[in-house]
Symmetry: C2
Subunit: 441 residues, 2 copies
Amino acid sequence: MNALECIRIKRDGGTLPSQDLRDLVLAYTRGEVPDYQISAFLMAAFLNGMADSETETLVDAMLRSGEVLDLSAIPGAKVDKHSTGGVGDKISLILAPLVACLGVNVPMISGRGLGHSGGTLDKLESIPGFRTDLTLDRMKAQLADLKVAMIGQTAEIAPADKKLYALRDVTATVEFIPFIAASIMSKKLAEGLDGLVLDVKVGAGAFMKTPETARELAEALVIVGERRGCRTVALMTAMDEPLGNAVGNWLEVAESLDVLNGEGPDDVRELSCVLAGEMLAMGGAASSPEKGAEMAAEALYDGRAMACFRRLVAAQGGDLRSLDDPWSRPGLEVRAEIAAPAAGIVQSIDGFRLGVACVQMGAGRAQKEDDVDAFAGLTLNKKVGDPVGEGETLARLHGSDPSRVAEQTREVEAAFGIGSAAPEPGTLIRGRFAEGGWTGT
Amino acid sequence: MNALECIRIKRDGGTLPSQDLRDLVLAYTRGEVPDYQISAFLMAAFLNGMADSETETLVDAMLRSGEVLDLSAIPGAKVDKHSTGGVGDKISLILAPLVACLGVNVPMISGRGLGHSGGTLDKLESIPGFRTDLTLDRMKAQLADLKVAMIGQTAEIAPADKKLYALRDVTATVEFIPFIAASIMSKKLAEGLDGLVLDVKVGAGAFMKTPETARELAEALVIVGERRGCRTVALMTAMDEPLGNAVGNWLEVAESLDVLNGEGPDDVRELSCVLAGEMLAMGGAASSPEKGAEMAAEALYDGRAMACFRRLVAAQGGDLRSLDDPWSRPGLEVRAEIAAPAAGIVQSIDGFRLGVACVQMGAGRAQKEDDVDAFAGLTLNKKVGDPVGEGETLARLHGSDPSRVAEQTREVEAAFGIGSAAPEPGTLIRGRFAEGGWTGT
């Protein structure tokens, strides 16, 4: 493998021999090829495209750059979900115990908040004492015991992805579907899964703003998964206004607890059940995704999912008492209320703008090293389609630093569009892609 | 200026604001922008193209990254020539004293051998004692005195080019006309010239293999020069077989001395006179390029050019005695003779192949740090169109290391194509591009 020759081939629109691409990725991970050659390669691939075979090779090399979990000693199917990221997306917190309590293993490895969207790890760590840094051995032991573990990416999993992602971030080569697909799938496939459900978000609050790009990503992800023998299904789901009413780390834990109590917002509950249905069908615990969704709704209603979540929290060091009355936890005072400037019907809520405002309040990071504030965020009193009177509360803002919260009130107010017409009701699930093609679009 | 935003604009096919491109180049030169961002930028520009305004800005930023010579204290026009590089191209050695002896200043800054082609500096340094590392102050003093100085690129001239060229070389972004034009013109325009003649080589022994790419480069170079107020003309000239009969450092000095004595190969003398004619016309010493070429032929014939060359060599520390019988200089023994494998007419001589063979014999560098051998190289006994008998000598090989020479005999033989038909006679000057457009093509 000659790095310069690899760059030249991509520059000239050619397809790299598999072995060369694999060697290039592994040599880069070992520090034997400099950043400046890889960044030229990334840009050439970004502009000239990658063949499906190259994407597959890239995934394979990235996942083999580190440890690949062997979960064969644990009986039963292992299934996970990945979301491409949105605002108010707390589904993983509900989904992992919900699927596990119905008999399918969920070895979930999650990330931190990225850009305007939150991260499952940050949410879990807002539970006092909760540890996400389990070793892979301890994770396996817990999985064998509880059928569920939720941890952060370790240095052993796909180190090539970590290095490539950091370089893409500073060379304007992030927004390229083969790279996005390789980054997601190399980490997920390293979990040693039998099945994977992908929640590809589309809309103003998502990374994929248009149905076209979301569809393209969904297809790339499923093709990569299936070719590697992992049953893979992608749902394309709405991410215009935030999912549910809560945005922020602890606020989303609190809303998840509501759903695990059989309550909470309809959209969060519906999406949790639909995704759980897919995972249960994949894992052989349900005869179909639809049947699985019904089973999931029951397990939310009768407390089995909540019991599993509490076992999970206890096993990973979290303080169970904090879960009992989550909306009254000290620190969660309301710092500001956003009043409607005029009466009307809520036409739109800009999820991206709210996501950025929450990051500014402290719910996310401006720099990788920043701490996040467990309490920063907001709750929506009104969602799209709701009527609102002049001066009525649209949202409540929270956060440990009142001045950071105060700075965002204008942004939050500006995220609401209020008008006189009743908006078209949107659908939550916008399509499903599996090996057979698209359905439900 | 935000480097990431600059990359994004080029990635998306946009045109960079001048100030941002200028700031990017200067920040990179100061080490404030990392290689990996610039290499992504270079690849994006390579694949998406550069607007003429961007090429101009790039040239301007690169030349302003270092010192720009102020030769205004020296009376008279300052004119130089640049060749894009070929095999056996010793024209600069003849041209600089030839133009200077006719009254026009030639402040020539040259490079070393690159790839398969030789470099003027390496040739000059094969003269015992000759120094090419004059300071800019000493160069100016010599120019005022002799109207000619021939030096190497100093660290003060266009340091951005040095850094960018090194990066392009390892990221497959060399062969891109706006970058090539910017690299050439930033160095030449930093000489503070009134006029510049470009010898754009085309053919198998040149970097530009096709007339189309050579024309494109010629046009880019002239446009950049003229826009900056430097009178610029480009000649497109043949580089299939080597120029003249000698290839190698001292061998080319010896052939240049023949031409300065009013003798030597016709093609070398013709090209020297044509280029000198352009420079003399630009410098106001001749009423037209044609008239200038006639003046140059006389100055070669009557010894004025040779006298000027000897003054130049003496001023820069060279040993004049070495110039007296150059073909008999100790060390220049013939190491091998290449015999024609069959009788016929020489159809073609592959200049690129011969150039590479000479580098291998020691005339050039495989690595930047390598020393060059003054004596390595070859002389052609036959050129394209010459009849040859079986066993007759085609070329003689020289070099300090007999084993390195012996390794190349097969390559040199293989560079000759011998057949029965008389080849079409080629023209040396293939076209001339100036502000008014192309003539003579």
